[in-house]
């Protein structure tokens, strides 16, 4: 399936619940090229997850819109969401978890199990197909979540701090794994993180968001052919980019409140 770019066009979202109104996103505008690896960085609770839910079609923006592809058509791309490891279903075997998207699409059992097993081999989880997620380590469970997203050839991958709960070593391994899969499949990928170094190690483009109500603070385009991955953060250019993003985020956090007024 062909990867798909998209454009967020003045996207705003307001949650209202029994009288209290929370402005989550305000006037978010940016675009993603087909096959681009985008990282959304910003303080926690700033509305990054809300934006991801809008991209996934789970939420309608209060105003503004997301345009997929080049046209103005109402095309709704196929998406796959990855959360932290708790997004994996505890009641399904590892194989059924990975094959879940295919099952929902109505792919016959034999085919979806074969594809799931192939992918499990690919991410080093062969031998665990029959196991329940609860017997796996946190890192292995997240591997299941990532494999589940890559099995159905979706146009847009959406990841919500997928490695946020992992220890440093597992996180590095998962970052390398993700880059490998992404190079293989070339999905358009939106990756939410609050780890600036992680964003610099992975992304084509980093979108720095302000605190709530979140909007695009600044964008950083990184050279696509640079070395990536956990070790790339030691390069001087990467450290410089990290430092600049940190300064932005920190100055935003320290600035006098404009949201709570």
């Amino acid at each position: 399936m062909t990867e798909l770019g998209f454009r967020c066009d003045h996207v705003s979202h307001v949650f209202s619940n029994r009288g209290s109104v929370i402005e989550a996103l305000t006037d978010v505008t940016f675009s993603a090229q087909p096959g681009e690896f985008i990282c959304l960085v910003g303080p926690s609770g700033c509305g990054k997850s809300t934006l991801l839910r809008i991209l996934a079609g789970l939420l309608e923006p209060t105003s503004g819109r997301v345009i997929f592809g080049n046209s103005d058509s109402n095309l709704r791309p196929s998406t796959a969401l990855v959360f932290q490891e708790h997004g994996v279903f505890p009641w399904m075997s590892v194989r059924d978890n990975v094959a879940f998207g295919l099952e929902m699409q109505g792919v016959p059992r034999a085919e979806r199990e074969a594809r799931a097993d192939a992918l499990l081999r690919d991410v080093g989880l062969d031998g665990f197909a029959e196991a329940y997620p609860s017997v796996l380590s946190v890192g292995m469970r997240q591997r299941v979540g990532v494999a589940r997203a890559f099995i159905s050839d979706v146009q847009l991958l959406l990841m919500d701090e997928p490695f946020g709960a992992l220890d440093a070593l597992t996180k590095r391994m998962m970052q390398e794994e993700l880059l490998r899969l992404w190079r293989l499949h070339r999905h358009t990928l939106v990756f939410v993180t609050h780890d600036v170094d992680e964003a610099v190690a992975l992304a084509d483009r980093i979108i720095v968001m302000t605190r709530r109500p979140a909007t695009v603070h600044e964008q950083f385009v990184l050279p696509p052919d640079r070395p990536r991955g956990p070790d790339a953060r030691k390069l001087p250019e990467a450290r410089e980019t990290s430092r600049r993003i940190w300064d932005l985020v920190m100055s935003d956090i320290r600035s006098p409140s404009h949201a709570d007024a």
Binding site: L81, H86, G87, W91, M92, E103, P133, S134
Partner: protein
């Protein structure tokens, strides 16, 4: 010495002491017959078919009440978990009826359904209904937003959403409701049988007491104990069979 061995030693010691004191005439057989006498009554009761027929009657009531109450509880509980509006409407009724000890409703039910097994089973079913319904509802309500988002994102709707996500995600809670329900069904069955029935283990206890067949009374208690232990074992086996992942989680 491992704990189970100590427990066993204590039990064997207590029963032996009881037997010796009975043989020596220190304990009146009208108060507590010797363990050997109880065992004799138990064997005799099964040989004549007396205890077996009471047991079968009780089993029938427990099973019928459990089946009706659990089915209704799961269905209503699912609806309450899935629809906030239905929950808001049903909540006052639950709050009003749930706290009544169900045995207290027996006379009213008998006035409506007549004196007989229909009324007894209705009361047992009602007692089972509440924990099943409340646990099922909470089981649905505690499904994580993340799991629901993932399911919807991968295109789960309708029957598939129900059978692959909603039902299994709430199943561990439903099964813990079943464990409460089974024990309540036993409790209420014996209670309604004591409160006026000619058959059933509760009736056997009451009649034995009235005619001073104390060793049969003790034998009936042993049968009820065995019934309770088997029922709980059965629930555990069912849980392991239909929700094996929750077993893995429990043992972690």
């Amino acid at each position: 010495m491992p704990a189970p061995a100590i427990s066993l030693a204590v039990a064997v010691g207590a029963v032996t002491l009881w037997e010796l004191l009975s043989q020596a005439g220190f304990i009146s057989p009208m108060l507590a017959p010797a363990p050997t006498a109880v065992v004799r009554a138990l064997i005799n009761g099964f040989r004549t078919g007396e205890i077996a027929s009471h047991l079968l009657t009780s089993l029938y009531r427990v099973a019928s009440g459990l089946l009706i109450g659990a089915t209704a509880g799961v269905v209503i509980g699912m609806l309450m978990g899935m629809s906030g509006r239905f929950r808001d409407i049903a909540d006052p009724f639950v709050a009003a009826i749930h706290p009544i000890p169900k045995i207290a409703i027996l006379p009213v039910v008998m006035a409506i359904l007549g004196i007989g097994d229909r009324s007894r089973i209705a009361v047992i079913a009602l007692a089972v209904f509440f924990p099943m319904m409340i646990n099922t509802m909470n089981g649905v309500l505690q499904i994580s937003r993340t799991h629901l988002d993932v399911a919807r994102n991968y295109g789960a709707t309708g029957t598939k959403l129900f059978t692959r996500v909603l039902l299994p995600a709430s199943l561990p809670m439903v099964l813990s409701g079943l464990r409460i329900g089974v024990n309540l069904a036993l409790l209420i069955t014996i209670s309604v049988e004591i409160a006026g029935a000619t058959m059933g283990l509760g009736a056997l206890i009451w009649i034995s007491w009235e005619v001073m067949r104390i060793e049969v009374l003790y034998a009936s208690l042993l049968v009820i104990m065995a019934l309770g232990i088997s029922a709980n074992l059965l629930v555990r086996l069912v849980t392991d069979a239909v929700a094996p992942w929750s077993v893995a989680e429990r043992r972690r």
